[in-house]
Symmetry: C2
Subunit: 149 residues, 2 copies
């Protein structure tokens, strides 16, 4: 359980899981560390990474994103725009934050709230449903795009 996720600590995590530390994986990881607040698609990562390493292939980006999500470094999100988007997972939050998705500019911001905790308790009792994860999204218009809507 790393509390602060540095480049080195993540490299160690990869090694511990017996993933090889290739330059491609390091470059992709760097990209997320440099864009901690963004929600990047595979294609966007590919574009960013090509600046450092023009040889890299799109399939490698997909494979690396899979791995980084699998070991908990990235979170895979679906904001309904037809592609998966990955964000850096800062802390080990078992109940991660929610998203505000702007229908105007597509920007994604984040929102923390504990309200769902109590809601989950109700659901477990009322529906006999064991909750493993939840996903809450708000679609609307951010302050920049809000005019006229």
């Amino acid at each position: 359980m790393e509390e602060v996720k540095t480049f080195e600590s993540i490299c160690n995590l990869l090694r511990n899981r017996s993933y090889k530390l290739t330059p491609q994986r390091q470059t992709i990881l760097q990209t997320f560390l440099e864009h901690v607040d963004r929600h990047l698609s595979a294609e966007e990562v590919y574009m960013l990474v090509k600046h450092q390493n023009p040889e890299i292939g799109l399939a490698t980006v997909y494979r690396t994103l899979d791995i980084l999500a699998e070991i908990g470094i990235l979170l895979k999100n679906d904001f309904g725009d037809g592609r998966s988007r990955y964000e850096f997972s800062r802390k080990d939050e078992h109940h991660h934050h929610h998203h505000l998705i702007c229908l105007g500019c597509g920007n994604v911001s984040e929102f923390d709230d504990d309200l769902l905790e109590s809601l989950e308790a109700v659901i477990i009792k009322r529906n006999q449903f064991k909750i493993m994860d939840h996903d809450l999204k708000f679609y609307g218009y951010c302050s920049q795009c809000g005019e006229g809507h």
Copy 2:
């Protein structure tokens, strides 16, 4: 604003929007009226509809689902299984229900709650974000699949 959605009332709605009432559209509509509680994918609708009308094309199913969603008869959902799923929209609910998605059998059940109302008020103030829609999903295991998890 129809309160009860009968086959006839929906046909009228189509006509009023100057959509033609073709047999294909009627058959697809029937299918949803016969499976009011299900969350069908285009492919599933296609299979069901082919029993009544083997001539129908998949593209027509897609186009009809689009229309029925556009006029508010169906709701288009994304449960993360790589295809869109449509459900019959029973009442005119501006704030629609939430979904419980079973990771075991894939079954989707529904859940009503007003808790998000108050949460939305907080978000509007705190984030200056005009909310148009929300989407809340719980992933877990239903009572049948729950053993062992």
